[in-house]
Each structure stands twice: as C-alpha cells, then as structure tokens.
C-alpha cells in the first residue's frame, strides 16, 4: 500500500474531535502538525471525567469510604463502564467504519464465558480438594476431576467435564482465550463475509444470525457450557473466598475504569491518524476507497477483529461483576441495544458512544428497578416498569429521525457547530455514493 494520504476531502484528514468528520473544511490546520492530545482535547476531558468518577466512587464506596453508596451500585457502575467499553468498540466498527454489526455482544459474552470457565472451575476445585482432604487416602487426579465435574455439571444433569473445559484450570490460558476466541470467531466470520462482499443491511442480518446461532447453540445443554443455566457464582474469586464483595466490587470498578481509559486513548489515537481517515473513507464510499488501491477488506476485517477482542475483554470484566452469564446474554436483542446506545449517544465520536451507553443503561436500570415514581393520570397510572420500553423504542425512532448525532450533538450545539441542513436531499454528488453515510453531516 502506498503511503499517500487519500486525496479525499479535508474533513478526512482533520478530525475536529475524535470521531467527528469535522464541522467544516479547515485546511490550514491540517498542515500544522500538532500533538495527539492537542488535536483531541476531548480525550483529556474524558480522562478527567473518568478520573473524577473513579475517585468519587472510591470515596463513597463501602470499602474505602463513607459507604453511602451501596455495593450493588458500585457493581452497577462498574458494569456500566464495561458496557461503555463495548459501546466504544461498536462505535469504531459502526460509527467510523460503517459496518452495522448486530453481533458484537456475542463477542462480549464469549469473553465472559471464557473467564467464567476459569472462575467456576478454580473455585469448585478449591471446594472439592478441601472436602476430599478429609479422606485418609489422598485423592487421585481423576477423583478431583470427577468431583469438579459433578459439582459443576451435576446441576444440569451431567458429571463429565467436556473437552472445551480443558484449559479451565489455568488462568493464563483462559485469559488468552478471552482474546483468542472472540478474535478468531470474528476473523472467521469477517473473512467469510467481507470476502464475498456482503455489505450494508445484509451484513447486519448476517451478524444477527451469527449471534442467534451462537446463543441457540449455547442454550443446549450439550454445548458443555451448562446450557440455559450458564456459568454462575462468578462474583466469588477463587482464593479470595474471605474477601468481601465490598472490596471486590471496587477492585473491579477500578479495573473497568482503567480498561476503559486505556481503550479510549488507544482508539482515539488510532482513529485520529491516517488509519482513521481510511476507515471513514470506507464508511462514506467503499468502492472509491477500493479503487484508490486500499485493501478495503483487510481494513474492515482488522477493525472487526479488533473491536471483537475489545468486546471480549469488556465481557471478561463485566461478568465477574454480574455474577452469572447465560446464553440469553447473546440474544440478538442485546447487540441491538448496543447499537441503540451508540446511536443515542452519537455515532462517530468516541465520547458519544460512552455517554450513550452509560446514559441509557443507567436510565434503564433506574426505570425498571421500580424506583421511578409512577405517574397517575387519573384514569390510568403510567407505571414505568411497563412503559419504559415503549419510551426507549420511541425515543430511538426520534433520535434516528431528528437527531442523528444523538446526545453528542448537544456538545456541537454548545460550541455553535451546525449541521448543514439539506432537507433530506441526497448527501453527495452521486446518489449511490453516499447512501451509507451515517448522516453525521
């Protein structure tokens, strides 16, 4: 590949903020090389906000501070950060590259399953070894394996340890699998799909089919991952049986915050450079980029795999906080929600996706938690438990129709940036070329 900058319009070379394609052409800035952070002030702001949040949560948490925040809320926040991480990945693959994947939560859940295997196996092994130690004859390896098998699979009517648990005893191996399994699946699927030029809605439906197939497969007991029951008790870390959940929850919160910060910096850096420009170009007109000599399929595959791995890692952090993972987590609806978050937060800007994920998922848990006050209308009482989904669905329609920039668009408004209003007219010179553009502008 030649190292020339694609001769596309200036917006490609000059992101005003990470993700945005720039509010308008500012060619002069492109010529003056600036530091990464200087070009992306939002990264600093984001890190600052995250740091403030982390400190605040730590101070309020039961483990280190006043305890005015419950452990379950610390867990909720920790989980939300993991969801934000997944949303970040989704934003890269959809907001920047234009691949609307409706299957990324499958990678998220696979990451959870991989770490879950170790958590479950190691904790059970501890219990089994302890109980076998009372026998006068030392236990054989088979006895331990059998005991573990009965303990883990007795619940679902089995006792043998399936082959896919071969590495479950080893943390490093399972950690490697957290990266490898989602990565390989994404590679295989992406390679097949992109190679045969499946694009647009076809690809979306195909990814949805992938996650559906996977969840149906895992729903079977014979899949070896305990079917509908999934893996549970994941909040108890092996070897830390005496450590209280107060402490564990804050550790996981820190880990999630660190992962999110790290991923944010990395992704912001990656997309602010030439690589990011190519991605946006692919989103806006794939054929043109291909004609310019870029290996479009390679780019797409790379992004697909990297984001899948990020989702896998996010899942590996998420499920120990949730405590249980089961195949319902891979249902197509989960991935669609991921897209919903990103869309509501604002596609094509990293902080938008984070805000969207945090905002919608927290709001969702508030409304469904029975905490939201009902609204009595006299003849009918609006119970939020019943009406939240309706509101979410409709607000989603509203966002796509009238506010394609999502919540992130509010920031533009504060800064006085405006989207050119074209009254639904074609967005580019050639009708076909810009259909896929996600109307950021």
């Amino acid at each position: 590949m030649t190292d020339t900058t694609p001769p596309a319009a200036p917006p490609f070379t000059l992101p005003k903020y990470p993700g945005g394609t720039g509010a308008g052409p500012r060619p002069s800035a492109a010529l003056t090389p600036k530091g990464f952070l200087a070009r992306n002030p939002s990264v600093l702001w984001f890190l600052l906000a995250l740091a403030v949040l982390t400190v605040a949560v730590t101070i309020l948490s039961p483990a280190f501070g006043m305890g005015s925040m419950s452990t379950s809320f610390v867990k909720t926040l920790g989980k939300t950060l993991c969801l934000c991480l997944a949303a970040l990945a989704m934003d890269i693959v959809w907001g920047y590259t234009g691949i609307l994947s409706l299957g990324h939560m499958a990678f998220f859940a696979l990451g959870g399953y991989m770490i879950g295997q170790w958590l479950m196996y190691a904790r059970t092994e501890e219990i089994v070894v302890q109980s076998l130690a009372t026998s006068p004859i030392p236990a054989t390896a088979q006895e331990i394996a059998q005991g573990v098998g009965t303990q883990i699979f007795g619940v679902v009517g089995g006792s043998d340890i399936p082959l896919i648990w071969s590495f479950a005893h080893s943390l490093p191996a399972q950690l490697a699998l957290v990266v490898l399994v989602p990565g390989l699946l994404a590679f295989l699927f992406g390679w097949l799909a992109f190679r045969s030029r499946v694009t647009g809605v076809y690809l979306s439906i195909l990814t949805q089919a992938m996650t559906l197939a996977l969840s149906l497969y895992l729903f079977q007991n014979d899949s070896g991952l305990r079917g509908n029951n999934g893996l549970s008790g994941l909040q108890n870390l092996p070897g830390l049986a005496e450590t209280s959940q107060d402490l564990l929850s804050i550790w996981f919160f820190w880990a999630s915050a660190a992962a999110l910060a790290l991923a944010y910096i990395l992704l912001a850096w990656a997309i602010s450079g030439k690589f990011g420009s190519v991605l946006r170009a692919i989103r806006d007109d794939e054929a043109r980029v291909r004609f310019l000599g870029y290996p479009v399929e390679g780019y797409k595959l790379f992004v697909f795999v990297i984001t899948a791995v990020i989702c896998g890692l996010a899942g590996a952090l998420y499920y120990p906080q949730a405590g249980i993972i089961n195949p319902a987590e891979l249902a197509p609806i989960a991935s669609i929600y991921l897209a919903v978050w990103v869309a509501i937060g604002g596609r094509g800007r990293l902080y938008g996706s984070v805000i969207g994920a945090a905002f919608v998922s927290l709001l969702s848990s508030w409304f469904t938690g029975g905490r939201a006050p009902s609204i009595p209308l006299g003849f009918y009482t609006i119970d939020w438990v019943d009406w939240w989904q309706v509101l979410l669905g409709l607000s989603f329609v509203g966002v796509t129709l009238w506010a394609p920039k999502g919540i992130g668009g509010l920031f533009d408004r504060f800064r006085g940036l405006r989207t050119p209003d074209r009254k639904g007219a074609p967005l580019g010179p050639d009708e076909g070329s810009l259909q896929e553009q996600e109307a950021v502008e």
Binding site: Y202, L216, Q220
Partner: protein
C-alpha cells in the same frame, strides 16, 4: 345374543356366580370403590361383571363415566345424572332415589387405568350392543388392551355386525388377536400373512412383541432356545455389558467399585502405608490397584475381578440374543412380515418428513412474504415486521372475543387483520420510513425501535399470558393417510393460504396497474415519476400491502401456535433469512428460500431427533455458509433489476 354373552361371562367365572346383586358387591367393597387402584380393583370389577345382575352394565358404565357418587351423609352409592337441584339419583337397583345437592355428594373419579379395566369388563356387554357408538367403544377398549380372553367374544360378535365399518374393524381386530393369542400356529401364521405390507401401528404393535429378544450368556452351546443370533462382545455389545450379563446370571464375581476399593485401602492403613505402599503414593490409580492386589494376595480383602479376569471370563462364554417366543415358525413369520413392513414404513416416513418440511416451509413463506415485498421489492428493512404478525394474531384473538362462532370470527378476522396492519404499515411508512429511504441502516434501527415499543405495548394491553386463538372444528384433526403419514388440517390450511398468497402476489405484480407502477418505482423512481406515477403513493401502498399480508399471516400462525407478544420475534430472523437466502426482490426467491430452510431444518431434526435446538443452530450456520457461495441468494436478479 346378549343372553349368550352373559351366560359366557357367567361360565367363565362360574364359582363367584352365586348370584350376588350389584348392591351387595358394592357394599362389600365400598372402600375399594371409593379409592380404586388398577392393581387391586380387578376382582371387584370381575365380580360386578359376572354378577348377572342387569344393573351391572349400567353401574360399570356410570362408574367409568365418572357418574357414580357417594352420598356423604349415609355413605351409599348412587348413579348420578345432572339435575337443576344438583344431581338426580338412581339407586343400585335401578330405582330413582330423588335428588341431592352437589355439596352432599362425593363424585367418584376413577383414574384412567381403572376406567380401562371397567371398559374391558364392559366389552362383553357392549360388543353387540344396539348402539353403534358403544360397540365402537368396546372395540377401542379391546384394541387398547388386547388379551386372549377377548378373542372368543369378538369372533362371536362378527357375524351379527350390521355396520360395515365396524364389521371391518372387528375383522381386523380379530386377525390381530389371532396372530398373537390363537392356540393354533398355522392360524397365527395365516393371520400374519393376511396383512401383507400393512403399515398400521396396531399391526406392528402386535408383531413386534413376537420377535422380542433377550440377551443370554452361556459357557457352551445354548440348547432348547429359539436363538435369534449370536452376538460378539466388542462388536454387538460392549465388554462391560457382556461382563454385566455374566455377573447377572451369577457366573462371574462382580467388579469392585472405586469407592469400595478406596474404603478397603483406608481400612488397611498401617503406620502410613498400605501393604507396603506409602499412603502419599495412593493418589495415583495404578498404585491403588497394586496395593489392593497386594492386600488380596495377603488374603486381607475379598478377591475382586481384575481386568484380566474379566477378559478371561468374557472369552470363556458365548453370548446370544434369544427370542422370548419359543416357536420358531412364529418368529420367522413375524420377522418376515416385519421386514416387509419396515421397508414400506421407511419410505412413508420420508414422505411424512416431506410433508412436515412442506408445512414448515409454508409457515416460513407466509411469515416472510410480507417481507419479500417490503424488503425484497422496496429494499426497506422493517424490523417491526414481526410485530405486525403479532398484531394480526392479536386482532384474531380480539375478534374471537366479540364475534361468536369460530368460523364466522375467522372470516371477520382475516380482512380485519389485513386492514389494521395495512393501516399500521401505512402510518409507519408516512411517519418514519419515508424520511429514511436514503439511509437503509437507519431504517433498520428506527423500525427496531418501533418493534421494541410495539412489543411492550402488546404486553401492556394484552398481558404476558398467552391468548387463545382457536381454530374452528373443521380445521381440527388431521388428514391421515395411514399410521405413518398424516398432516393436520390446520397445516394444510396454511399451505393453501401460502399458495393463495403466492398466486395473489404474482397476479398483483404482473397483471395489475398497481403492480406495474410498483415495479416501475422500484426500478427507477425518477423515471417513474416523470411518467406520471406518484412514487410516494406507490411506496405507501406497497408498504401497506406487505404489512397487511403480515397481519393475515399472524392470524394463521396464531391458529396453530401461541399468541403472545413474542410471537413475531420468533419469526423475524428466520423471515429475513428466508428472503436473503432466496434472493431479494423476487417472490420465487422467497419461496425457494422458505422451501430450503423448512426442509433443511426438518432433515437435520430427523438426523438428530433428540435435540431440536441443534437443528436450528446448524441451519443458521448453513445459511451463513450458503451466503458465501451465493451472496445474492438462490434466485439472484441480474442486470439492471439487480440495483446496486
């Protein structure tokens, strides 16, 4: 004839026939009759049947129909019949005994097993009853519980039969009983051969027990048994099974279990070692075996079979499968008959599978045909399509609540479902989709939002409980070709409906003005507009049409499955698959897609009958791979019509 039968029954149970009345028998066995069990009630029922009391048949019949009751106040039994006051009572001599309130009577509810015995006892009374329905019941009862005793009365009842259907049934039943229970071998073989390759389940049920086998082990050649074949350990049965056979008939000692071995070892720990093996070494199974053998040698533990001994015992014996039926002639004839039958059954099973696949394909096609219009023709992704199906099903449910009569309500429900979903589709197109024609991915998301909202709305309105949508009686039951191939009428109706839609769609697109305009707008909206077609109007109508068809599909699907708010969700991914696999923009494609997916799913289920989930997984996997080979579907449009 009746007198003869009664006499026969009396003769059978000659001893107990010292003319007790029904009332006396009931009084003696009151406790058993209150809480009957199949295992203990037999003699009481035989006594009743054999009592010679003319009330016996009436009492048994009432008892079997749950019309026998006990008055709480004085613990006497009465025959019950409905009455405004509660029950009209008839005492056990047949005399009316006034009425009683419902609360004064305990109804006796014999379980199905007891009712079966009662029905068998009634056979002798009803086999030649003037009422054909009772005769039919008697035949059913014999068919369900075939026994040698029924053979004689059945034969006696054939000649007097006037109803040709019942006569045929009686003759068939007679042959079935003959081949199982007749004393004469030739008669049995003749009966067997008379059926030919009949695929009736009852015939197979009669023949199979004749060739039932059991496994046997023997040190020498097996004498005096009707041997089916010799079986070899390792080929026909596992070594473990073979050894278990030997253990079972006492010709070999049992193997020691893992736990017993551990226990024995633990009992012989002396100063940190067992038979010279340090305890810490016993964490390896091989060492445990060695330690146990050492203990065995020292005579401290009972000998247990080791692997060598097991192998030796197995080679020393021969294993056979032996027929339970001793007569070689019978088993040979039965095997031959079954052989003929099984070939035919195999062919028929494939046919049945084909029908299953066809009906599943019709369901998928019906669910997808609306999508074939909105997605296939217009290129609009409507994720709320599933909810339109649900909407149609709920319309059917509501109509059934209002309109009496299942047939009439269906006649109202179909057009109404179409109208409502048509309106919903038009509204959605006007309000949302119209603004997003240039942004297909956004359409997907927006319609998804609508789908979420609609689904929750259904829940809020109709609750989460499944709602009944009942098909009229003429759609109940199944078209049964024989005991292997059958298909329910409701599925036939769905296949017919799917075919109708296909025809309607083809007619609409190829033969009407609207169809012409739709095709024009699809191919080139600008050109169509300049020819005087209003693309907005056409888009609206097309979308409404696709949605309306989804509504009708909803009624049909609701008829055979459940009506819940999640009904549509179950079909949406499959529907998209159907359209994508078949080829977008072509109704034949949707048909091909549905056929392929439906039959494939059935075929996979057939290969792996114990797990339906796996079938769905493999099917989706197959589709993903199929798209690799034919990214544009089975029937791909070419040239300009292919659009992008």
């Amino acid at each position: 004839m009746r007198a003869f039968l009664l006499g026969l029954a009396l003769a059978c149970l000659g001893l107990s026939a010292h003319a007790e009345t029904v009332a006396q028998i009931v009084a003696t066995h009151a406790a058993d009759i209150e809480k009957p069990s199949r295992t203990t009630i037999g003699p009481v029922i035989s006594d009743l049947a054999a009592s010679g009391d003319p009330m016996a048949a009436r009492l048994l019949e009432a008892w079997g129909n749950k019309q026998l009751g006990e008055r709480k106040s004085d613990k006497t039994f009465f025959l019950l019949s409905p009455d405004p006051a509660g029950y009209a009572l008839t005492d056990l001599t047949g005399a009316p005994a006034g009425t009683a309130a419902k609360s004064d009577i305990t109804e006796l509810k014999p379980n199905a097993g007891v009712r079966g015995l009662i029905a068998s006892a009634l056979v002798q009374f009803t086999l030649s009853d003037p009422d054909p329905a009772k005769r039919a019941n008697a035949l059913t009862s014999i068919a369900q519980d075939p026994n040698a005793e029924s053979l004689a009365p059945l034969r006696a009842a054939i000649d007097g039969e006037t109803d040709p259907t019942l006569k045929a049934q009686k003759q068939r039943l007679e042959r079935l009983l003959t081949l199982r229970f007749d004393a004469d071998t030739t008669a049995r073989v003749t009966a067997m051969e008379s059926f030919g390759a009949d695929t009736g389940l009852d015939l197979r049920a009669a023949l199979t027990p004749l060739v039932a086998t059991s496994r046997m082990a023997s040190a020498g050649p097996l004498e005096g048994k009707n041997i089916a074949r010799e079986i070899k350990p390792g080929r026909d049965l596992t070594a473990v099974e073979a050894y278990d056979l030997l253990v079972a008939d006492g010709s070999a000692p049992a193997r020691i279990t893992h736990e017993d071995q551990e226990k024995a070892l633990a009992d012989h720990i002396q100063s940190g070692s067992v038979a010279g093996f340090p305890v810490s070494d016993l964490s390896i199974q091989a060492n445990r075996d060695r330690a146990y053998t050492a203990l065995e040698a020292a005579g401290q533990v009972p000998p247990a079979a080791t692997d060598d001994e097991v192998a030796a015992a197995i080679t020393a014996h021969r294993f056979y499968e032996v027929y339970t039926e001793a007569d070689r002639v019978i088993t040979d004839a039965a095997t031959a008959a079954l052989g003929k039958i099984s070939l035919k059954v195999g062919v028929l099973q494939v046919a049945d599978l084909g029908l299953d696949g066809l009906s599943l394909a019709a369901i998928y096609f019906l669910a997808a045909i609306g999508l074939a219009i909105t997605f296939g023709v217009m290129g609009v992704i409507n994720m709320a399509h599933g909810e339109f199906i649900t909407l149609g099903a709920y319309t059917g449910y509501v109509v059934q609540q209002i309109v009496p009569g299942y047939t009439a309500s269906l006649l109202v429900a179909f057009p109404l479902a179409f109208a409502i979903t048509f309106a919903a589709g038009v509204a959605m197109e006007r309000l949302v989709i119209r603004h997003l024609y240039k942004r297909p991915l956004e359409t997907l998301l927006a319609t998804f939002g609508i789908s979420i909202a609609l689904q929750q709305l259904f829940k809020n309105i109709f609750g989460t409980q499944a709602r009944p949508l009942t098909s009229p009686d003429w759609l109940g039951g199944a078209l049964t070709f024989n005991d292997v191939v059958s298909i329910s009428y409701i599925r036939i109706a769905i296949i017919v409906l799917a075919a109708l839609f296909l025809g309607f769609f083809l007619y609409l697109m190829k033969r009407t003005r609207l169809g012409l305009e739709v095709r024009a707008v699809t191919q080139n909206p600008a050109m169509a507009a300049s020819m005087g077609i209003n693309p907005d109007r056409i888009n609206m109508l097309t979308f409404g049409l696709g949605s309306g068809i989804a509504g009708i599909a909803g009624v049909a699907i609701g008829l055979f499955a459940k009506v819940t708010s999640e009904l549509g969700t179950d079909y949406i991914v499959q529907s998209f698959m159907t359209v994508v696999v078949g080829g977008v923009g072509n109704i034949w494609g949707a048909l091909a897609g549905a056929t392929m997916i439906g039959s494939l799913q059935k075929a996979i289920e057939w290969l792996n009958p114990s797990n339906t989930l796996a079938a769905q997984t493999y099917m989706i996997l197959f589709i993903i791979l199929f798209i690799q080979v034919r990214p544009r579907g089975i029937i791909a449009l070419r040239g300009r019509a292919a659009g992008d």
